[in-house]
Symmetry: C2
Subunit: 186 residues, 2 copies
């Protein structure tokens, strides 16, 4: 089974009008995605934000759960936060995994991106041998085209059997994607 890491990108992402923006950190994104990453055996959960004050906020949340009262109250959460890495950019996350040539970058989107990697194929690929895989999630209305275009693969959008509505939170989308890749009893 391949090493897998997750990244949550706050820039460059798009807003509701398609403009490239930087989003603010959402507190629950920090521990929800850490808990999902840790549960599904991911080695790292990168929170990427270009603004130092926002990275410091993430660091304060991390410290609360790792070293502060939160960690004493809920030790399981402390373990989850152990996979969190706070970085300036997606590129910095890729560097920490060994550089662009050493990692497969898979991006995600709620909308149809044309040619995509199905979750069935993706699950088979992570079960085999190969480079580490970095699964990238965008905040706001999703990853900017520059990030989508430079990826090695685009995961298929998450869809339901019935209905064509898809407006999952990034917390839910990450949990579902990791379960599709690494869930047991499937």
């Amino acid at each position: 089974m391949r090493r897998c890491a997750v990244a949550l990108v706050h820039h460059p992402v798009i807003d509701g009008q398609g403009t490239i923006v930087t989003t603010a950190v959402t507190n629950l994104d920090v521990h929800d995605l850490a808990r999902s990453a840790r549960t599904y055996g991911c080695s790292d959960y990168f929170v990427a934000h270009p603004i130092a004050a926002q990275r410091e906020l993430v660091e304060r949340i991390r410290a609360h759960w790792m070293d502060g009262s939160g960690g004493r109250r809920i030790p399981d959460r402390k373990e989850a936060l152990g996979v969190l890495r706070i970085v300036e950019s997606l590129d910095a996350a890729i560097e920490l995994l060994g550089g662009r040539g050493a990692v497969e970058v898979w991006v995600t989107a709620a909308r149809d991106l044309g040619e995509t990697l199905s979750f069935a194929d993706a699950r088979a690929r992570v079960a085999g041998d190969g480079k580490p895989v970095l699964v990238v999630f965008g905040t706001g209305w999703g990853l900017a085209a520059s990030v989508l275009d430079s990826a090695d693969a685009r995961l298929e959008p998450i869809q339901a059997v019935r209905g064509d509505y898809n407006h999952l939170s990034v917390r839910s989308a990450c949990a579902i994607a990791l379960d599709r890749l690494f869930g047991a009893g499937r």
Copy 2:
């Protein structure tokens, strides 16, 4: 395909010591679970809380997204909040679905509950005909024994292929459970 509804219970649930408690409402639980429920075709998302002031808080969150500035900014979220029903108790949710004899109650837990319904079997059961299914999630450290014991089925705990750590948020657990029941391309 059977009608499916989701319930998020704030009482009776247990805390870290196994004591029965009432938990406070978490803002993001309101819309994250609504968005998952709507995406996977559930008819209703019941937030059950015995304290009136907490139900009023949920109503304020609902109004922000349905009638307020939130709904104007993000119309997709308005549609998700349309499935939200605010009730006093799990029993009240069951009554709204036609009463105890008219609904199958399936409970969830992160820990092993003995005899459980596998997600594969559960998926086949919801795909067929029958009573509406109400899938029940607990806040805090999970549903109290009285709720677990009165259910028609207990869904198997969500687990990963590798590792035995399981500390998902209820937002993630609900998203994964609905994807396992109603996800496409599986």
